[in-house]
């Protein structure tokens, strides 16, 4: 037999689990200590916000919430290289990306608190609302990128999906068309090893998720998703390529879900403690802190100050969230169509009347 095609999948990592560089050549931006400190702050911000959201749910003040614990470098990584003009098509665990792209904490809380106002982003107006059905957001990303391409704009579209989500047909349809039309989409797979209780072995027979790119004729890169430097570097490359007509990239960010799937889940039912402990040794926040410390760029004092600031910021967001009134009954109808049909208008009136009772 003759060989008609051959492929390789590359892996990117800069910092090891202890925050030590694995190679001498760090990317240029890694020399910018202020930048690294801000990335650290962003990851901490997400972590503290998550903890608060959990607490709100546990105390009956919010609905189900999916945290990003252990996966902070992913959303903060790609989010940190997005411009305002780029578009984010998030899934439910894209809190990091959303926050970095300007969606407010209050909006995120409102969303998970069961209020549509949370999807009416004040800043990132073109970003899609959080996608709960698995994988179909991939196709929205290709549609947005199609419009962008047709209009000759230089904007990247980023979408994120879990490794479990790659089993859905929509994921493949998305990367396939992105390949064919050379669309400026960056598909980020958060490979946190679990899809609720289902381990990654049940989602694929592949060694990497990055190799799924080969089926679409696009570039696939595996990155250590707990290494914010690698995550940012690869994202920067991919988004830049996307903006400049270079086409789509599939990034597999290898990480680990240190938390339960959501507040509605109890991962101890199906995961070994040891595995989770091992996960903690790889986690991204401490890893960057260790590196910063090794560079004398972070101290306990910095840490305390940051925590204080974050606490205040989050407290304010929570207060705003809690002070947001429940929408009136007519909110159920008011954005159904541009103009409400007569038949439904009668139902709206009835709902208002009943709500007032």
């Amino acid at each position: 037999m003759t060989t008609v095609a051959s492929f390789e999948i590359k892996h990117r990592q800069f910092l090891d689990a202890n925050g030590k560089p694995v190679s001498k050549k760090l990317p240029d931006f890694a020399k910018d200590t202020e930048l690294l400190r801000s990335l650290y702050a962003d990851m901490m911000r997400l972590r503290v916000f998550d903890a608060k959201a959990y607490a709100l749910q546990r105390t009956g003040n919010m609905g189900t919430y999916p945290a990003s614990l252990g996966q902070e470098a992913i959303g903060i990584g790609y989010g940190s290289v997005m411009t305002k003009e780029d578009v984010l098509i998030p899934y439910y665990r894209s809190t990091g990306g959303l926050l970095k792209h300007g969606v407010t904490m209050e909006e995120i809380l409102l969303y998970w608190g069961g209020n549509e106002a949370g999807s009416d982003y004040s800043v990132a107006r073109e970003d899609f609302p959080i996608c709960v059905p698995i994988a179909n957001q991939c196709l929205h990303a290709t549609g947005v990128a199609t419009a962008i391409k047709m209009r000759g704009q230089k904007r990247a579209v980023v979408t994120e999906i879990g490794e479990g989500g790659t089993s859905e047909g929509d994921f493949y349809e998305g990367i396939n068309v992105a390949g064919i039309w050379n669309l400026g989409v960056v598909f980020v797979i958060n490979n946190n090893k679990w899809a609720i209780s289902v381990p990654s072995e049940i989602q694929t027979a592949c060694d990497t998720y990055a190799q799924k790119a080969i089926s679409a004729g696009i570039e696939g890169i595996q990155v250590d998703g707990n290494d914010i430097i690698a995550m940012r570097e690869v994202s920067d490359y991919a988004l830049d390529k996307a903006r400049n007509g270079g086409g789509a990239t599939l990034i597999e960010a290898v990480s680990y879900r240190l938390c339960d799937h959501t507040t509605a889940d109890d991962a101890s039912r199906y995961r070994d403690k040891e595995e989770v402990e091992k996960g903690w040794q790889e986690e991204p926040v401490l890893r960057l802190r260790k590196y910063l410390e090794s560079q004398k760029a972070w101290s306990d004092k910095d840490e305390d100050k940051l925590k204080e600031e974050l606490a205040a910021e989050i407290e304010q967001a929570v207060e705003n969230y809690r002070n947001t009134p429940v929408p009136p009954p007519e909110a159920m109808f008011d954005n159904l169509y541009a103009e409400l049909p007569d038949s439904v208008r009668q139902q709206r009136q009835a709902a208002i009347k009943r709500g007032a009772q």
């Binding site: 179909n136 290709t142 349809e173 998305g174 954005n335 541009a338 007569d342 439904v344």
Partner: protein, 326 residues
């Protein structure tokens, strides 16, 4: 002004709107060079280029998802699903996102998109090519569902569908794509959505239909007239949301209502119309509400499709039953 068929009217409306509004783009399987398997987009790629008449890969979920993404950016995609029987891979996109993007973002993101699909039986097509499942779409709040029954309506309603700021499912009765011609002026005048058309006034019974079955229904009305029965005939046209006012008004006048539809009877659009009449027009009824329908079975392979589809005779039989009801 030459007389044109229903499918030519679709083409004319698409072309009109593409000239008017450069955000309008067509996409789907075989819509480009080939001009669609039914020729609805014939010639349009030549006129508007490959960027505006786009042959997509073969994937319906993708087509719907692309349309959603493009519409979110302010384009006005008109996507073709080659046959309604192949729309099912797209319903996840349409139901979970298409129908509710405006709602869930409080109007921040809106989707001015149209999904076109030929539907219905009667052309001896292979399996899965002949179903009428409009009721599935009509049950989903946030979608509008439109079914033109003749060339003029195809033109006017297609313009309205494209201009509508929300997603419209536009179902084309392929059995009548070419059976009648109308003189249709290419004047850019849209018909209103959410309005029934009263095609014939009458006093004894209201016949309610849409799409291809309008033709049998109108023929039945002719025959009823010969027998001295005056039927009012309504073309629902926008089957969701339905303009029930027009229907109820008519039933108030005639006292008898009968729905003619191609779909299986159970849980179909006819059930919704009957239920509304039973709720709001009961006091006017002189007889039970009739439904002439496809049967509650799988659409058979084509050798039996004639047995499946409602006929003029079946309509007449049921109408006469209702007239004789005491």
């Amino acid at each position: 002004m030459p007389a044109i068929t229903l499918i030519e009217a679709v083409t004319m409306a698409l072309e009109h709107e593409m000239k008017q509004d450069e955000e309008v783009v067509l996409l789907g399987e075989d819509v480009g060079v080939n001009g669609g398997v039914f020729r609805a987009t014939a010639g349009l790629q030549d006129k508007f280029g490959k960027d505006r008449v786009i042959d997509t890969p073969l994937a319906e979920s993708m087509i719907a998802g692309l349309a959603i993404g493009m519409a979110a950016q302010g384009m006005k995609p008109v996507a073709e699903i080659q046959f309604m029987g192949f729309i099912f891979p797209a319903v996840d996109q349409l139901f979970c996102h298409g129908a509710r993007m405006r709602h869930r973002t409080r109007g921040r993101i809106t989707l001015p998109m149209v999904i076109r699909a030929p539907f219905g039986g009667g052309i001896h097509a292979p399996e899965h090519h002949s179903e009428s499942t409009e009721a599935l779409f009509a049950h989903i709040p946030g979608l509008k569902v439109v079914v033109p029954s003749n060339p003029s309506r195809a033109y006017g309603l297609m313009l309205a569908a494209i201009r509508d700021p929300d997603p419209v499912i536009f179902l084309e009765p392929k059995r009548v794509y070419r059976i009648v011609k109308h003189e249709v002026e290419d004047n850019g005048e849209a018909y209103p959505l959410e309005a029934c058309f009263v095609d014939r006034e009458g006093t004894d019974i209201t016949l309610i239909s849409w799409g291809a079955m309008m033709h049998e229904t109108l023929q039945a009305a002719d025959k009823l007239a010969e027998g001295g029965i005056s039927a009012e005939v309504i073309d629902v046209a926008t089957v969701s949301p339905i303009d029930m006012d027009t229907i109820l008004e008519s039933v108030a006048k005639t006292g008898r209502a009968m729905i003619v539809q191609e779909a299986p009877k159970s849980g179909a659009l006819g059930s919704e119309i009957a239920a509304e009449i039973a709720e709001k027009g009961l006091m006017h009824l002189l007889a039970p509400i009739g439904r002439v329908s496809g049967y509650d079975t799988v659409m058979p392979y084509y050798k039996l499709e004639k047995q499946y589809l409602p006929t003029v005779d079946r309509i007449l039989e049921e109408a006469r039953n209702l007239m004789e009801y005491q």
